[in-house]
């Protein structure tokens, strides 16, 4: 057999791929379909205060990446203010500063978080110091009273916290509780009281402030819950729920006492928050149920990578599929495209812009580039400087499109930035040579052909299903590898060979 080596290699690769895939799909029960709960949330904080006319300084807590939330985008709108961010203890904060502020000041802080059911590597927690209770006299006695009641009823720290929260959230509080809450029954107050009582018992606890991510909440209030240091890790307890477990849609913003923001050099500080579900499909994540993470084989899987890296691999791992599609197109069907992998690269750019916008942007950028290239032809430039000129024009065109579409309020135009400009430049150059040598018709034919291929490649690569499968079952790439090996030795007719040689299909005379 002529290609035995090849067939064996392809079969081995494919069976390894299928084997690992089946093991993961059937034995480990990794999901074959993307988890529908993946989502993004946009949170906005608006801060206003009246400046005194002198220097002003505003300190604002900002959230940090923490399982299961990843901040995928954030921006500050604060005209004229200097901005620095810093990590302080468990918190991050941003400091806005200005030398001279007059009148009402408005600052915005906006971020997008991605929530996943992914359980990432847990960070090592530093042993926290015990914060002494600051209760005095009557209140100390009341707290001691509560503690004396629940301590004998509890088995460990966890049950103690639960019993305590039960008392603090009872609809009819007992005297000691009523005394400590002091007529205020806000959650923050309850959480703080709980922390004080736990401190009294020598248990380390802290207040967590955050927001609840619910659909389109224009005027969100901060929500607070408790974290207790048990068995070398912080455990969350939310008094708001029956089971005291922290709901999955609670986003921790900062820890410890203190308001969200405080201002120096201003007064009447007001903060308002809004939460909205953001619909940015490009940011969606392929995710896996948490139980899978415990399995040993997965210790070496993509999920052990940081979430940001996973997001990158989600794109990278789909590229071979697009390339495989191109292989079939070229070697089995016989279509020609400009540049071997150019359509796949364009398709990757489309994931940022969406298809329709992508095609429009591509067409506009290429057309402008071609016009400039045509004009440069008259100036008789040497090749490399000419290519650089076209590249600069391509970049400027992209920038102009972004600015204009932003002015017109079209969000999509801003996504042009990831368009592969070098590829675009080379495409312009190739197209203009084809134009010169083979005429405008051939150029248009090849150009449109390449766009169509790019669009098809986009739909193959950029969908939740492909991304999910590629990230969870990267071993399937071995099947693509063996498929490519086989096509590499495919010596049958290409589909387009058939019409080309049609005249040779008659009977030999």
């Amino acid at each position: 057999m002529k290609n035995r080596h090849l067939y064996i290699l392809a079969a081995v690769l494919a069976s390894i791929g299928v084997g690992i895939f089946l093991y993961k799909a059937l034995w480990l029960e990794l999901p074959l379909q993307p988890d529908g709960r993946v989502d993004n949330w946009e949170v906005q904080a608006k801060i206003t205060f009246d400046a005194r006319g002198g220097p002003a300084k505003l300190v604002l807590f900002i959230p940090r990446n923490e399982v299961p939330f990843t901040i995928v985008d954030q921006n500050f709108v604060s005209e004229g203010y200097g901005l620095t961010t810093a990590s302080i203890g468990d918190n991050r904060r941003a400091m806005f500063s200005i030398r001279k502020a007059i009148g009402t000041q408005t600052l915005y802080y906006r971020f997008v978080v991605n929530r996943s059911t992914f359980i990432g590597p847990t960070e090592a927690v530093e042993e926290p110091v015990i914060v002494k209770s600051t209760l005095e006299e009557m209140r100390l006695a009341a707290a001691q009273g509560i503690l004396n009641k629940i301590l004998p009823e509890s088995a460990d720290d966890d049950t103690l916290v639960r019993l305590l929260l039960k008392r603090l959230t009872a609809s009819v509080p007992d005297d000691n509780v009523a005394m400590l809450l002091g007529g205020s029954s806000t959650m923050l107050r309850r959480v703080r009281v709980a922390r004080q009582i736990l401190a009294l018992a020598g248990i380390r606890a802290r207040t967590v402030s955050g927001v609840q991510l619910v659909k389109a909440n224009k005027n969100t209030q901060l929500t607070h819950w408790l974290e207790v240091y048990i068995r070398d890790a912080w455990q969350g307890y939310a008094p708001q729920t029956e089971t005291y477990s922290v709901p999955a849609n609670f986003l921790a913003w900062w820890r410890g006492p203190g308001p969200l923001a405080f201002v120096d050099g201003g007064m009447f500080l007001k903060t308002s928050l809004s939460v909205a579900a953001a619909s940015a499909p490009a940011l969606r994540t392929a995710l896996v149920v948490s139980k899978a993470n415990e399995r040993s084989l997965l210790a070496y899987s993509m999920f052990t990578l940081p979430l940001n890296t996973q997001l990158v691999y989600k794109i990278i791992l789909t590229v071979p599929l697009g390339v495989f599609f191109l292989t079939i197109l070229r070697n089995v069907i016989g279509l020609r495209t400009m540049g071997t992998f150019m359509p796949v690269l364009i398709a990757i750019a489309f994931r940022e812009t969406q298809v329709l916008w992508g095609v429009i942007l591509f067409t506009v950028v290429i057309s402008v580039g071609l016009l400039v290239r045509l004009y440069l032809e008259n100036l008789r430039l040497l090749v490399v400087p000419r290519l650089s000129c076209v590249l600069i024009v391509v970049v400027l065109t992209m920038a102009a499109i972004s600015v204009m579409s932003n002015q017109l309020g079209l969000q999509r135009g801003l996504s042009v930035s990831l368009f592969p400009m070098v590829i675009l430049t080379m495409t312009v150059e190739r197209m203009s040579i084809i134009w010169d040598e083979r005429g405008a018709g051939e150029m248009l034919r090849q150009g449109i052909g390449s766009i169509i291929v790019a669009v098809i490649a986009y739909f193959i690569m950029v969908n939740q299903y492909t991304e999910h499968i590629a990230l969870i079952f990267p071993e399937l790439l071995l099947i693509l590898l063996s498929g490519n090996l086989l096509i590499g030795r495919y010596s049958g007719f290409r589909l387009l060979d058939l019409p080309r040689f049609r005249v040779l299909a008659g009977r030999p005379s």
Binding site: S491, G492, R502, S509
Partner: protein, 317 residues
Amino acid sequence: MFGLARQLWRNGVVGINKRNADYILVHNPRKYFPLVDDKLLTKEIAEKVGISVPTLYGKIEFPHEVRSFSSIVANRADFVVKPAQGSGGDGILVVVGRMGEYFRLADGSMIDNRDMAFHLNNILAGTFSLGGQPDKVLVEYKVDFDPVFEKITFRGVPDIRIVVFLGVPVMAMVRLPTRLSRGKANLHQGAIGAGIAIPSGRTLTAVLKNSVVSEHPDTNNPVMDVEIPSWNILLDMAARSCDLTHLGYQGIDIVLDRARGPLLLELNARPGLNIQIANREGLRHRLELVAARVAELNTAADRVRFAKENFWPNPVS
């Protein structure tokens, strides 16, 4: 569709994948490609073994040498400028006359000195070369083609392509420029190709794009049954070319000069498959016959004799 594929297979038609996978990749070691991809090298080795080539007037390898172009062509009325590593005839300028600052090209257009210098720089920068790597410019003798094709060609230079497998010429055609191909002997661009019967050296019907024609589209003269002069010399050149390049499967392009006879124009490591349409016959049966019998064929003369005995045209109807 599968019926069509089966019929083509039965008729021995070789598709692109088959050519690449079973002939080029198997019989053409990559290390010998530069010999045929660089026309300057081809010229040098051909001259070494006594195969005639168009005389080289001069070469330009670096941009600063572009100035020397005027001295290369100082007292020449006609010449050809071509990239050493061009493909498909791209970047070739055929100068047929001069008027002061101007060059008259084969297609009737005129360009001046500055256009020419620009074109030379473009060639050097690799605009026309495979993969865009820097290239050289060849300035060479413009073939004064044999009158045998005068009536069936429109401007440009007709050339003869012979596909050679393991040293045996297996199939041949003559490529005749048309108005459509703008004087280029390139079938993709609309030149017509007429098959040549290997034993007799006489032309068969021709192909224009993918359809069969028997007359030249511009001159309306019949293209069939034209006898190629010095056909045996051509076959001998083809049979010897593989010793030159060590490529098992290659195309050899030859032009017929009025005064100097057959001249080797270039060699091709990836010859196109349209020659099958020009001959209305598939290549595979001939290639397989050669592969089976090549062991008995020791000299170029043996291989030519073998070809003349076995490759009578057998076109499909």
